[in-house]
Amino acid sequence: MSRNQALTTYKKGGIHPAEYKLTDKSPVQILPLPEKVTILLSQHIGVPAIPVVSKGDTVKVGQLIAQGIGFVSANIHSSVSGKVVKIDSLPDLTGYKKPAIVIEVEGDDWEENIIQSTDLLKDITLSKDEILEKIRESGIVGLGGAAFPSHVKLILPRDKNAEALIINGVECEPYLTSDHRLMLEYGEEMMVGIRLLMKVLNVRKTMIGIENNKADAVYHLKDIASKFPGIEVYPLKVKYPQGSEKQLIEALTDREVPSRKLPVDVGVIVHNVSTAYAVYEAVQKNKPLINRIVTVSGKSLKKPSNFVVRIGTSVRFLIEAAGGLPENTGKVISGGLMMGKALNSLDVPVIKGMSGILVLSEDETKRKPIETCIRCSKCVTVCPMGLEPYLLMSLTQNGNFYRLEKEMVLDCLECGSCSYICPANRPLLDYIRLGKTDVNKIIRERKYV
């Protein structure tokens, strides 16, 4: 099977940045315990969790330390055993101070009900509601990056019906290999997780979408999928941003999720491969979401690796384990090259949605000077949502928010394909983000008038 031959993908736009998958052959290593962890209380989309421990308390691995409140929120558990030394506001990934719990590590003492053995537990004994409750209790959020509380996605609106589950193993971002390694090393566990999700959603069909630059994972999962009825593996043509929910759904089902609608409106639910694995651990082993695989990579890094990391470990600790911060570092990114956030400090903690830490050299960091738009229309061609980035940028610059809304600025995924392709180095996405913020503000105000 040669690459990209006769494989399906989504139709509109897209780019193909250099892949740089430096760590796709590096098995996952378990990172040693840090001295302390900083666990942020808002690692998910929605309301921040409320602490249920106080300063001085001793906690075990897997113990609930903050409770999600309201519908869209998630529980947070201690990822280590030790003593709570601080409950305070500390800088999160963006540099703003947010509530967090700091725990000093003492030993590695797990909650008794967590099964620590690595045996595969394949039998599903719990009912639909029991599984859902366990997923909610365990604080599982979407591990692809958005960190939307998973149990919320599993409770369908009354009038909606899901026909199929889609599992996102696309990993279209350059450098990142955490999902790739997970599929290779924990494939069967993930499959059990998928069966659990299928039971909750009451669907008979699951499609796993994987880009074909991970042919080994495609073969491996196809092999084991035969033991799991209803699950099928689909290799996809390599194209960014295929990992975006709407694009993946189109690639696999040929259905387009309409503007401002949800996947369930076209009859599907999408979860990430890592989320499926977390569901397996939560339901079959009673283990809440306390660690995850993080790819630490970069061309100048000595030992790019995939690590299993406890939530709350500092980014500095991860980079040290990968050979230390190179002298010429210009930028450190949480997430992928295309959509990740640049960090302003290495002392921020790992959060549930962090799939990678990338270290870029100073040369790779610099932006080139902005030139005049030559109207080459490449931004329009690559936009996967069928928008016109050049127009959205100039409308934002001119403050024409009424027209921005009409030109569907809110549909922008912020995938960055337009800024990537622009030959005049125009900061298209920077301006589009500003435009989105302003349009959202106007829409909110309109509701209150």
């Binding site: 350059p174 309409p258 959509m339 790779e364 005049t372 109207r375 229309s377 061609t381 949502m385 030959p423």
Partner: protein, 333 residues
């Protein structure tokens, strides 16, 4: 204190395309046409091309440096393209001072008066070409014949272009079958053995350029293909309805400036639409206008006017023709 890190919004990686390397890509695509023009017209072509390119670049530099007093942009290659395209639609015996005047008009009025690259509504090379055509019609309609490599310049033997022969012949009441005997064969038309501007004659060289532009993804197929198809269909209908008074589609495509215009002029980034749907509409309109001017207008050739007219409609096309948004129509598997 630890090292300071750069913080900037995503994306953190950029593609390799830059304005200059897209422009130089277009110049590379023009090389076959330049070589063909030298092969057919000799020193005349060399003089016309070099004068046009040098004066275009020089005027861009002088105007930006001394008149506008801002950063010069000659290194982006766009002035070279303007010079090349202007020269390729001139006759090989064109007086040097007129070439310089044409370049000044193209760069000064066509491009820089609107704010330079990216802001000009009309294709600068065509602005220069039409300026010369309207101001000096006699000089612009005496076309040296392609007779292999020549060394003479001003006194090259001239004759009518195939389009001229057809236009005048039809005007006098001759029938097409009779006129077709007077014009070169299709094979000659394809390889460029005919009278005409230095760049438009060799269809094969222009098609090679098109292949390069498409392969390097500098342009998409939408504009050239829609222009050429429209011309083929429109002239095909006329030909089928009345073969005695209309030349066939193949003759129309291979003669005159349609290929040069469709491949290199209508596809100019700055003056063409931004969406694929818009590009197709623009191409169809150019095709129709070209045939209307050729067949019913008073000029034998119409493609440059057709492109300039449609350049004027591009803002309107961009305003009304939107790409198909993702999820616009609900598909049902």
């Amino acid at each position: 204190m630890s090292k300071l890190l750069t913080v900037s919004p995503s994306p953190h990686i950029y593609g390799k395309d830059t304005t200059p390397n897209l422009m130089y890509g277009v110049i590379i695509a023009l090389i076959p046409a330049i070589l063909a023009s030298i092969l057919y017209f000799g020193w005349g072509a060399v003089i016309v091309i070099s004068v046009a390119v040098i004066s275009s670049v020089l005027f861009e530099f002088l105007i930006q440096r001394f008149l506008l007093q801002k950063k010069t942009t000659i290194q982006d290659g766009s002035a070279i393209i303007t010079g090349l395209l202007l020269s390729l639609c001139l006759p090989s015996n064109f007086p040097v001072w007129l070439i310089i005047l044409g370049s000044l008009f193209a760069i000064g009025v066509g491009k820089l008066s609107f704010g330079g690259l990216g802001n000009n509504p009309f294709n600068p090379a065509l602005v220069g070409r039409v300026f010369l055509f309207i101001s000096f019609p006699a000089k612009m309609t005496s076309w040296p014949e392609a007779q292999g490599f020549q060394t003479q310049y001003i006194d090259a033997s001239t004759g009518a272009t195939p389009l001229n022969i057809i236009k005048e012949g039809l005007g006098k009441g001759d029938s097409i079958s009779h006129l077709m005997d007077k014009i070169p064969t299709y094979q000659q038309l394809f390889f460029g053995n005919m009278g005409g501007s230095i760049g438009e004659v060799a269809a094969v060289a222009l098609i090679l350029g098109l292949a390069y532009l498409l392969l390097r993804k500098i342009i998409t197929w939408h504009i050239p293909v829609s222009i050429i198809l429209t011309v083929v269909i429109f002239t095909g209908i006329l030909w089928l309805v009345n073969p005695a008074h209309n030349a066939d589609p193949l003759f129309h495509i291979l003669s005159g400036g349609i290929l040069l215009g469709a491949i290199f002029m209508a596809t100019d980034y700055v003056t063409s639409p931004m969406t694929t749907k818009g590009m197709i509409l623009y191409g169809i309109c150019i095709g129709i206008l070209t045939v209307v001017i050729r067949r019913f207008g008073s000029y034998p050739e119409g493609v440059q006017f057709a492109i300039l007219i449609m350049n004027g409609f591009v803002p309107l096309i961009n305003y009304y023709i939107k790409p198909k948004r993702f999820g616009e129509e609900v598909k049902n598997g």
